[in-house]
């Protein structure tokens, strides 16, 4: 099963890490936990400088509905509340914790062993208490996503195990190592939404994960759906198209197509929160790249600086040309080694100078490969010309706002045109005008 359009990026990167079991590193001296890691309002700090905190203790409380709680990744002392280099290149507020090395847990929530009979509202509240956010990349608060507006009828839950970005294997390892938690998480979310159609979509290049999940899913309402290997299969809209056969309307949300899509890592965190009462303070991060000495997967606490993660991977063999948070297609290049990991950092990718090289872009040769590759069926080449000439009206007419910035067009463009950047600048400009 799959969708129309899309591309096949070179998939050699996954073999670097897909057979490396997740390792848990020792506690570091210092963690800088970013406040504004979730979409929506950043949470408000509830601790002061000098306070002693335990692992899992609440350090910043959600400010409003679309906002998520933040918990301490380890035990220690709050030493600073202030700006640190953020993942978007601009300073971002963070709470800095000096670890005492004990990693002693504060009081956590009681486990809800009887969740199958629990009130869905209670379960949603637990997820909100534990600060769950979408771990696929957008970090949208999970409790908001699981509370669709009453006028939208949701009948399908889809878990995203596609992991279509080259190089990343964090979700793959998670599905191999914690398959039972993924299935349970899916069931908990299904209980909250009150749906019976529960699917986990996995690309068929993760055969072992499909098999292990299929065995465990027997006897439950969870279905494992093998998907064709194609980028961007892990995009919300394209998963819905591939699995439910529905299309999300232009400008709409998955709920408009009766679906809710969650990442498999979020599902596992959901199980942690409900069954064990543990807030979300760590995640699996793939540290990879041809020039990384020991590429692999690590269970990192949020707030771990980029440099420390690179140390775990044994450093690099040559000076990297680019360091990216996320995958090579949609990740963000970093400008500081002090940027901390947050709940949505699925990978750290190091590219060599040659890989990071950008070819000189030339004029559009009208080959139409971008149009073929666009999973949203946009005419990228025409849009790009309109944007270059400042014709925002034409760009809007041709649905530039539907662009998901997946980078398929720029990847296939033989003229090396910076198509995604053009789309992004148009979207920014149009949002400003609105």
């Amino acid at each position: 099963m799959t969708f129309e359009g899309g591309i096949h990026p070179a998939d050699s990167g996954k073999v670097l890490t897909d057979n490396r079991p997740t390792l848990t590193p020792p506690v570091l001296e210092r963690y800088q936990v970013l406040l504004c890691e979730n979409v929506g309002k950043p949470p408000k700090p509830v601790v002061n400088v000098g306070d002693q905190v335990g692992k899992y203790q609440l350090i910043a409380a959600a400010d409003g509905f679309v906002s998520a709680n933040l918990h301490s990744p380890t035990s220690g002392k709050v030493v600073k509340i202030g700006d640190v280099p953020g993942p978007m290149g601009i300073p971002a507020p963070a709470i800095e914790i000096e670890a005492d090395g004990e990693d002693a847990s504060a009081e956590t929530f009681p486990g809800l062993a009887g969740w199958r009979d629990a009130d869905p509202k209670e379960l949603v509240k637990r997820l909100a208490d534990c600060g769950l956010v979408g771990m696929g990349g957008a970090s949208f608060p999970t409790h908001v996503k699981l509370s669709p507006p009453p006028d939208k009828k949701v009948d399908t839950l889809i878990l995203n195990g596609a992991e279509c970005e080259p190089f990343l294997t964090a979700d793959h390892r998670l599905m191999l190592e914690r398959p039972r938690d993924v299935i349970t998480g899916a069931e908990i979310m299904a209980r909250i939404l009150g749906v019976d159609d529960v699917n986990i979509g996995i690309e068929i290049n993760k055969r072992d994960a499909i098999e292990s999940l299929e065995t465990l899913a027997e006897g439950t309402k969870v279905k494992i759906i093998p998907l064709m290997v194609r980028y961007p299969q892990g995009s919300e809209k394209h998963l819905i198209q591939a699995i439910a056969g529905r299309e999300v309307p232009s400008g709409g949300l998955p709920a408009d197509a009766g679906c809710v899509v969650q990442n498999v890592a979020t599902a596992a965190a959901c199980t942690d929160a409900v069954l064990r009462g543990l807030p979300l303070v760590e995640r699996i991060v793939t540290v990879t790249g041809e020039i990384v000495c020991r590429p692999g997967n690590w269970k990192l606490k949020i707030g771990t600086p980029l440099l420390e993660a690179l140390r775990l991977a044994g450093g690099v063999t040559e000076e990297p040309g680019k360091i990216i948070f996320g995958g090579p297609m949609m990740g963000f290049a970093q400008r500081s080694l002090e940027v901390p990991i947050s709940k949505n950092t699925s990978g750290i990718l190091l590219l060599t100078r040659e890989e990071a090289l950008r070819h000189r872009s030339t004029s559009c040769i009208r080959c139409g490969r971008c149009v073929q590759g666009c999973p949203m069926h946009l005419a990228s080449c025409l849009l790009a010309t309109a944007i270059e000439n400042g014709r925002w009206d034409l760009a809007l007419q041709n649905h530039v706002m539907d662009c998901i910035e997946c980078g398929s067009c720029a990847y296939v463009c033989p003229a090396h045109r910076p198509l995604v950047q053009l789309m992004r600048s148009a979207k920014m400009e149009l949002r400003k005008k609105r």
Binding site: A333, R335, Q421, L422, S425
Partner: protein, 285 residues
Amino acid sequence: MMLGAIETGRILMAAALMAGAGVVLGAVIGAIARIFRVEGDSRVDLVTELLPGANCGGCGKAGCRDFAKSVVSGENPPGKCPVSTREQVGAIALALGVEVGEVAHKKAVVRCSGTLFTSDRVAYYNGIHKCSSAMLVGGGPKVCRYGCLGMGDCARKCPFGAIEIINNLAVVHEELCVGCGSCAAVCPRGVIAIVPAAAHVHVFCNSPEKGAQKRKVCRSACLGCGKCVRKDPEKFELEAGLARVKYSAPELPTAETVEAVGCPTGALAMTERHRQKASEETNAK
């Protein structure tokens, strides 16, 4: 042979018909145009003719013709055109028999002197060569988040070609600038200020950060030391680590003031000096 003659006749017939139709329809259109003619104000045409025709928008109107309309209707005095010289404005006022009005000439100043050589960059940016696009990639390659990115959005926008990019820094050519403000409107960092044209001394820095922090990343930043303010509190003011020229003060600083102050980083300078410094390819202050 016979067939050929008939064909020729038909072709001629068609041509004659088309020509006839053209003449008749042309006459009809001409007649209609005369009957329904809209009487335009000839004074608007006259004023448009006398205006520079750059359509820069510096007067606040959509273009020169729009401004001409507002002048004729008395909404704006002719002197509001920032581009026209005193004589040109005088000619318009004379033609319409109105007052010249306030002629407050302005000009643009780029409040940054961090070139490729004097300020640090944190990353190598190889995307679209536009300031607005560079801003989307982690706020641009410059360490200083307030300075000029030097990719020329303003230079491309300027209708008078008054902005030049020298070593990744926008530099205003005073003699060409009319102060229309179209550059300030496109600058994504708001580095460009519109100031009175009579001012020739400015503080070429826009960063409100602490002096020590600025010093680390830029050799030509204003350190906020307050030397200028102490020397001449009438002409300068200090706000959040950044000195500013008081443009509304009765007396503006001159070359002598700059010399007397002796700014340690050279952020306080004459416009001339700013341009010179931009082309100096050394790492020194």
